[in-house]
């Protein structure tokens, strides 16, 4: 498995050594309002999350389906910025120094902050990995070196359309884990084919030492279980965010509903 000494690499190693597949829930920071995010992160860890993927709201989230688009709009209603998200991570780190955090978003907020300033601030806040949807390795030399300089893992996506040549390139450029996008489509799309996912994960593993997480089409305990059986980790986003949306006016209920769902996912994949 990964030789990386990063918090992400270590966590994969420990969990997989113990025979446990990793559960990576995604929430959008600041959704439905900024005050609830840090609490919710702690709740998700207690409910069984191994790594947290924290979405940075962006005005033009091209790879998101309607559920996460609306989450970002709710968060942007409170003007939740990249700096705010890093502040939330720092707050979370006050009482949790173990759980790795991957910040997921779009390039422009990072461009505007500046790659090295972002990397320094993110590392200081306690971020472990950065997944930026719209920067492929071809465009990412400066971005990658800025992140790696600060000990941050640049997490890259592999898609159903990615050929093996690119898989190798992506795996060389990246760190932490490889994120396999299990469907052609946006987040929250359906129709995940476990056999196809299994083939692709094998192909990635043939060219990469990094563990492989799978996300985009996993919307319930059953699909999480199937995907976990053929990968190292499952990422669940829209299905969680939908529960936040349904309870947007009741913070306590958000916490309890999301945590209940994560427990179900945990039970299904263990």
């Amino acid at each position: 498995m990964s030789t990386s000494a990063s918090r992400i690499g270590q966590r994969f190693q420990q969990r997989l050594d113990a025979g446990r597949k990793l559960l990576i829930p995604y929430i959008t920071a600041g959704d439905p309002k900024p005050e609830i995010t840090v609490n919710l992160m702690h709740g998700m860890v207690k409910a069984g999350a191994d790594i947290i993927e924290l979405g940075v709201p962006f005005s033009d989230p091209m790879a998101e389906g309607p559920v996460i688009q609306k989450a970002m709009e709710r968060a942007l209603h409170y003007a939740t910025s990249l700096s705010d998200v890093l502040d939330m991570v720092a707050e979370f780190r006050k009482t949790d120094n173990e759980t790795p955090i991957v910040v997921m978003g779009y390039l422009n907020p990072i461009e505007v902050m500046g790659y090295s300033e972002f990397a320094a601030k993110a590392a200081k806040a306690g971020v472990d990995g950065v997944l930026t949807v719209d920067i492929p390795p071809e465009e990412a030399d400066d971005y990658i070196s800025s992140l790696k300089n600060k000990g941050l893992d640049p997490v890259f996506l592999v898609a159903p359309t990615t050929n093996t040549e690119r898989m190798a390139q992506i795996s060389r450029a990246g760190g932490g884990f490889v994120y396999y996008v299990s469907v052609k489509g946006v987040t929250g799309a359906g129709h995940l084919n476990t056999d196809e996912v299994s083939d692709k994960v094998e192909q990635i593993k043939a060219v990469s030492k990094l563990p492989v997480g799978v996300g985009f089409g996993i919307n319930d305990a059953a699909s999480a279980k199937r995907v976990a059986s053929v990968s190292d980790a499952v990422v669940v986003g829209s299905a969680i965010v939908r529960r936040i949306e349904e309870n947007a006016t009741n913070s306590d209920k958000i916490n309890s509903e999301v945590c209940k769902f994560i427990q179900e996912l945990r039970a299904a994949i263990d």
Binding site: D60, N108, D134
Partner: protein, 403 residues
Amino acid sequence: MSTDSAKYNLPDEKGHFGQYGGKFVAETLMVPLDELQQAYDKYMQDPDFIKELDFELQQYVGRPSPLYFAEGWTNHVGGAKIYLKREDLNHTGAHKVNNTVGQALLAKRMGKKRIIAETGAGQHGVASATVAAKLGMECVVYMGAEDIQRQAMNVYRMKLLGAKVVPVTSGSQTLKDALNEAMRDWVTNIDDTFYIIGTVAGPHPYPAMVRDFQAILGRESREQIMQHEGRLPDALVACIGGGSNAIGLFYPFIDDATVKMYGVEAAGDGIETGRHAAALCAGDPGVLHGNRTYLIEDKNGQIIPTHSISAGLDYPGVGPEHAWLKDIGRAEYVSVTDSEALQGFHDLTRIEGILPALESSHAVAYTAKLASTMNKDQIVVMNLSGRGDKDIHTVATHEGIEL
């Protein structure tokens, strides 16, 4: 352009114009974009494809469009001689069709059965729906819900042509959001779908490909002005939404240092009000819709909603090649307010009997300003990118008239 003798030769093989352009997209699109690039390179070398493209541009679009000496308007303005490149006379009424014919023929060669497009003013949507009807392809057009209100006539036109028009209600509900939604459709239906982007935006190879398909209007203008005047013009003027009509005009003149180039952005209510769409005049570099370029964004990197009376200019970005031409000083970018554009709309209509699109009216307004500062033996070529019939309701409403 590093030395005077070097010919302009951008983008590089990765789609970069200096620091601008590139391919900033989710991984799912990377291989399909390579395939598009390969198909484009292949067919642009294929005499059979070029013959088909030329034939359709002549027989279906009606090219070449005239380069018309606007004598009455020239006299009215009292300065340089003004020529209008009459893209308004193309089939479907704007320059957009030059590009849609090219991309749709390419889609057909690539075996794609379904085309999608985004549209602001509806001109690109109409042009896409038109070629889809002709080629018997399925066509889906994404359009911001707000633009659907402003451009009701074009929406109905697209439906008559058999296209499905999908209202986009996310974000600011205008062109940028339509582009986001079209991209989402594309990643979902990547196997059978060709995305016809309507301007020189998007990831490589789109900015170069759309430019190349639009450059026919610049090449024609160059030949036509040589016929009329025996020399190159002193200045070129075109409006800038994403920048396709402007780059189409500018591109064949880039190596002619004596020809000044002016791109006219929408200043909306005035740049100082913050309600505008002038990315080059008032924006900063950033990454959106697959490329690095100038954007209208806030200090946190969020894209700010834009404003222009003209839906086709109401876009927070601009083609990356314009960003480069601005930085190296080869082209100059200026802006014109809604009310100045409306004045231009009325002037050209009354003086020349030519109703310009509100987009083109921005170029009209700036051309009048510019030409009046030049002398009588100088020449300005302005791209009249489209006709204004689609805007009559907007103009009437603006002036408190109910039709």
